[in-house]
Subunit: 452 residues, 2 copies
Amino acid sequence: MPVITSVTVEDVRFPTSLTADGSDAMNKDGDYSAAYVVVRTDGTDSVGAPLAGYGMTFTIGRGNDIVAAAARQQADRLVGKDVAKIAADMGGLYRFLTSDSQFRWLGPEKGVVHLSLAAVMNAAWDLVARFEGKPLWRLLADKSPEELVDIADLRYLSDALTRDEAVALLRAKESSRDEHIAALERSGYPVYTTSAGWLGYSDEKLRRLCQEAVETGYGHVKLKVGANLEEDIRRVKIAREVLGPDRHIMIDANQVWDVEEAIEWVHALAEFKPLWIEEPTSPDDVLGHARIRKAVAPIGVATGEHCHNRVMFKQFLQAEAIDFLQLDTGRLASINEILAVLLLAAKFGVPVCPHAGGVGLCEMVQHISVLDYVAVTGDLTGRVTEFVDHLHEHFVDPCQVVEAVPGAGVGYVLPIQPGYSTQMYEASIAAYRFPDGTYWSAVTTSPGAADN
Amino acid sequence: MPVITSVTVEDVRFPTSLTADGSDAMNKDGDYSAAYVVVRTDGTDSVGAPLAGYGMTFTIGRGNDIVAAAARQQADRLVGKDVAKIAADMGGLYRFLTSDSQFRWLGPEKGVVHLSLAAVMNAAWDLVARFEGKPLWRLLADKSPEELVDIADLRYLSDALTRDEAVALLRAKESSRDEHIAALERSGYPVYTTSAGWLGYSDEKLRRLCQEAVETGYGHVKLKVGANLEEDIRRVKIAREVLGPDRHIMIDANQVWDVEEAIEWVHALAEFKPLWIEEPTSPDDVLGHARIRKAVAPIGVATGEHCHNRVMFKQFLQAEAIDFLQLDTGRLASINEILAVLLLAAKFGVPVCPHAGGVGLCEMVQHISVLDYVAVTGDLTGRVTEFVDHLHEHFVDPCQVVEAVPGAGVGYVLPIQPGYSTQMYEASIAAYRFPDGTYWSAVTTSPGAADN
């Protein structure tokens, strides 16, 4: 049986700040980056190629080396492990990696060591799915309710969700899994686009990209706001003109406001009827989000891309602070923690609309949204998953979005290759590895300056 | 005027796991460690010695190198800065270091990049206090309410505390500062000891250390609990026997319980009348702590050593989740954030009892508690600051605790040397720098094993 023989972690950075892709009120000059983990084995996969696992977390530039260094220390503990044994007990592997109390102190369960744990465990999940010859969503959809709950990290959640409740939730949807898979095979999983609305884009580019979104079949478009109210009013007005009254606009402030400031600003944009305000304030402020939600209804409140663990999501749900839960596959510690959050959200009746974009996040979230629909909720009401059309060319099995059924909206095409869709081309790594890849060797420094 | 010429960051680790000092239900084998920052200048201090600043954050072993690497990147941005300009605008320096959006993404404001920021800013505060020739508490106590509020990081707090409220709080205590300083000069700042109650100690050692605490004059002793209920009952019973009915016992579970489990366990120890239960569950669980607090009253709830920023403390206060606020000088991003938390706590009427122990934390918290009493609250009611008698021998200006007034209890002696008391001996660094110090070169690996 195959055994893990080595692990490497690369610091890969793309110079996205050059084109203002990804610019928002908090993050003016991100260089989309991945701490990229490769877990190698002495085995072969179902088609005879060397069996390996590929995983990552997402950062926006400087400090990606810090995350990579942490991932290296965590991933080293995988060497020598038997892949079949890991595959049979991914809950055990997760507890093994999270039970290092010295490392735990550096979070706990947050920040760099949690981002790096996500990268390592994402690679382990990719490895296991390749070992089993299935796309990750399918590997999970083939498991029983009890097997799934054994995987989920329910620690600190029992006051909101017991193990028995979790099993019962999954049991209730078990018989309809095949039907839901068939539905997604027909029309894909619903997506929205953020590619139109970065803050650094001109009005003309915004108008053109909104028009293109309409023509492509998008029913939801997200815009960045929060730097300047007059400009926000002008930009959201342009989007509403182009999108018409029936398509949805979402607005995203990327944490720039205090609580009362958020309420005033959103009220000033209410006439354009946004579906949600995303990240109105500090991602740690559960009670602040609850206050904002009450004040800005019927505009919804969305957050989660910086929500650092399941305990925070538990409270966002308990406090009735959010209308849309935007978990992040690079920030939560892989399927083990994500599954716990999906179960919590299902119990509280809040739709999960994962955060994506960056690099590799779209590739991963498609598996999460499919899992949520097929095994956890069986419901697409209010669900729409982010899609951003950047950097997919670096992936061996990139996500795809199409409008499969005319008029039904754009959706993620169900992944069919084994794994978590997280493998990057070796040529991409060779070019964009920091600082010694061929691209970075040719420039002197990261273009995103630290003084901002 | 002096200019910052270089910064070095050392990974310093002490092999405390060998003696079970610091052992608790979550952390069985900590090696007390410091990411230790030295900021050098081309100037001299008030006695003609080279002017430098020394700061640190505290970790428990593995991963201390990750924190040091992050601190190096943050501290490099200080080189070339004018010390007098920094001293005149420490709020500006803090905002300069926290406004790097690429680095911010790795938290935000939590985990490794916040620990490392604490280390760097602690060194900057030590530098500025030495530059002014004052102990840090005195440097701050000499500032006006407006100057102090300019230093405090009030971002995301305005729904709980406005700038005007903060100024008014400080103004109300301004005229009594000298009187409060005189009181501390007489009797010191009240402390409690944790040295007696580590989980790895035998019953005999526990009994002996409790007896010694009584003889030394301690009115408060803290014990670790949470690994085994029968053993906890036996150990707390021993402590109560030795301490008698009038001295206080505090118990500390170091996050091992879920919410309902915490309530049941604390009820089972209630007969021994603990003053507080510390860290009963996840440090992120504001609402969980609020639930526990209601259920275990009149036993108090204490937390904060892992509370990662001011936004979390704001919510612990808003949710009425804690009776004692245990901020940590290595986890909050230095005086700038700590002052904001002191102001919040004063507004909500919750006593601040800082976490200490580890390495260097006692040296720092004495300044914080003095600042809290002299400038913010003018109140010692319910206040008692942690003291643990480990590793002080490595500090040039170690903290001291004595019972200055017989029968009045043990207190921290008011620091009088310039700075933040954070300078370590060069010989200590040379011995315990990891992995190349003379101590670690002589052993093969860190004794605290990762598999636990």
